[in-house]
Subunit: 194 residues, 4 copies
DNA sequence: TATGAATGAGAGTTCATTCAT
DNA sequence: AATGAATGAACTCTCATTCAT
């Protein structure tokens, strides 16, 4: 039952952070939304920042794990690339709440910046690992693979942000987005959006 | 002379926003840094948010203009692509302060989010325009070009953020980064960076 | 068994009050130290203040009783005086915890101030009674004896506080302190203390 | 004009601390009494504790200075003693506000305890110095003089507290109190009080 | 134009106390 | 008798903004 309230608080906070941003959201908003008393917040979190850090950590970790599980082996590099991009878009789509909070509203605290930095480091490592299996990048150095990895992350993140958050598109766009990003226009499945 | 003080305020604010973020920086910090009195701030700006909006607008507009001027026509698509990417990296490098402020610290105000959104819309248009000149994208639809444009923006922005802000590399890395991103490993000019 | 917990609470509270003062000590500190649950506190005490009042009353009453039992009759006034002072120092030494709590940390509640006031009234009466037996004070009025009594109390309390609490000296200093206070330097047993 | 408000705050605080104690007095009480805004408090003091520390320091320093100026040279030790005691009672009477605050209400903060400890150390030194001039204490060691000094301080403080604070007597009692404390009953000027 | 003391609404946080189990 | 999660009133403190000079 105790965990009930903690969960209420987290759900309420995520909703409010997404809607109005971290700084605009007051503890009093969160507890009202969660239906608990003001003091209850402090049973579960040391402070507002502590709450956000723990939520962000959990969400970002989820993304890292989800990306890691996307390991597939297909024939061509292009197929691998496509699947990687699609998988990443799926994961971002499922986690667009935290994506929106962090990208649109930011947070601005040393500690949380650290969480974010660590997150990017982790997914970069995951992507770099995947790239090593592609023939195309066979003779790339570690540093060069890192550049490629980050550029792919940026690509996916920006597209995900623009389509899932700004344009608020659904998961049915994922295939088309991935196809275009990878560069195969074949039989175009891409329909006008919004 | 009055403009002197306004400029002092802007420079002080940019420095502090970059260092500690928008929310952490107090008006009192800015005026102390700028060497003017507390009340003077309000002679030049309606509010703290108003100041940030105007600074952000100016900086982002500068980026848009700089990107637009990069229009050059070379023989191959790959050359065009490389030059576009390099140009974008240069521009981001020159403007890494605002890049850092917006990406690392975020903003958290509806109005400023609008500024940011409009900025991305503008540079997307610039990039899309440039892509139309590449043979490679001849039969892409507008929507498809938009995806490509955003994915390129994301690529450049993420790489610029990681190398110029996180790793704090200088402009001498630009060529190498651009080359790798575009995919030409030719005579590799890329050196290990730390 | 119930009384066990009550006693635990009292011991824990005394320790914490002495260490950090009444106001700084939280109920949660006391119950943690006592090894009981938060709610258990209220089975034994109406409130934090009620607890402190009852502890203080008990301790101070102990001091009063101890002082009363010191009644001895010796030949000279000086001997009586010395014994009275020594006895008082002993008592204060044994009760330095409450002495420290009340003198160093104060109290700050009307009700408890009353307890303290009543305590001084009581020991004043005890001392006054003792003084009546000394030839030296034969023709002193009641009011005058009261002044003498309070001045002796102040003397002993201040010395006890400085030596037992501030300098943290042990009971071996008592004789020397009493001798000096009374004014007999005879064969000086007093050693340098640090 | 700025100092006006600071002074208002100090006067209001002293009054309230005396009336209801340090812990019971809220910042909101102080500013209301002083007739300034809540935020104004923080222009002059870092916190409530900081305020009290600075007030206490000033008051206690005043007492030390006042006691130091009492240096007089009379014929007999008894005369010197009497004058010292009377002077001390006068000083305590003039400063009974801070005496009441510290003795009755206490404060309970490490930092302020330090101020108080330092105060006693200082007046002990003053008294010890004075005692050295008395023939009576010619062959007392430093340690022994310290005991005498503290016992005299305790005497005066307790009597001052009981008569000036508890019984609320005026300065006309000072002579009589001093006389009794010193031990001369001569032509008794002491009248029944209140 | 420039000042900076003053403001006060409103934020985050604390903690003695309660009560269903 | 014992628990400890939950409470919420009340606190201290912050800081963007104002305005008399």
């Amino acid at each position: 039952m105790g965990e009930d309230k903690k969960d209420n608080l987290i759900q309420a906070a995520l909703m409010l952070f997404e809607e109005q941003g971290y700084h605009t959201t007051k503890i009093s908003d969160i507890v009202r939304e969660a239906g608990v008393a003001q003091g209850t917040f402090y049973l579960y979190f040391k402070s507002k920042e502590d709450m956000f850090r723990s939520i962000a950590e959990a969400c970002l970790e989820e993304i890292v794990v989800a990306l890691q599980q996307g390991g597939v082996s297909k024939d061509t590099d292009e197929q691998k690339d496509y699947l990687m991009i699609r998988r990443a878009l799926e994961v971002y789509h499922e986690n667009k709440t935290i994506l929106k909070i962090i990208n649109r509203h930011g947070v601005g605290s040393q500690e949380i910046a650290g969480v974010s930095e660590a997150f990017y480091q982790q997914i970069m490592m995951v992507i770099k690992q995947a790239l090593r299996d592609e023939a195309m990048y066979a003779n790339y150095s570690e540093d060069q693979l890192e550049i490629i990895a980050f550029s792919k992350i940026g690509m996916v993140e920006m597209v995900a942000y623009q389509w899932f958050v700004v344009k608020n598109c659904g998961s049915e766009t994922i295939n088309a987005l991935a196809q275009i990003i990878v560069g195969d226009l074949g039989p175009c499945k891409f329909k006008a959006m919004e």
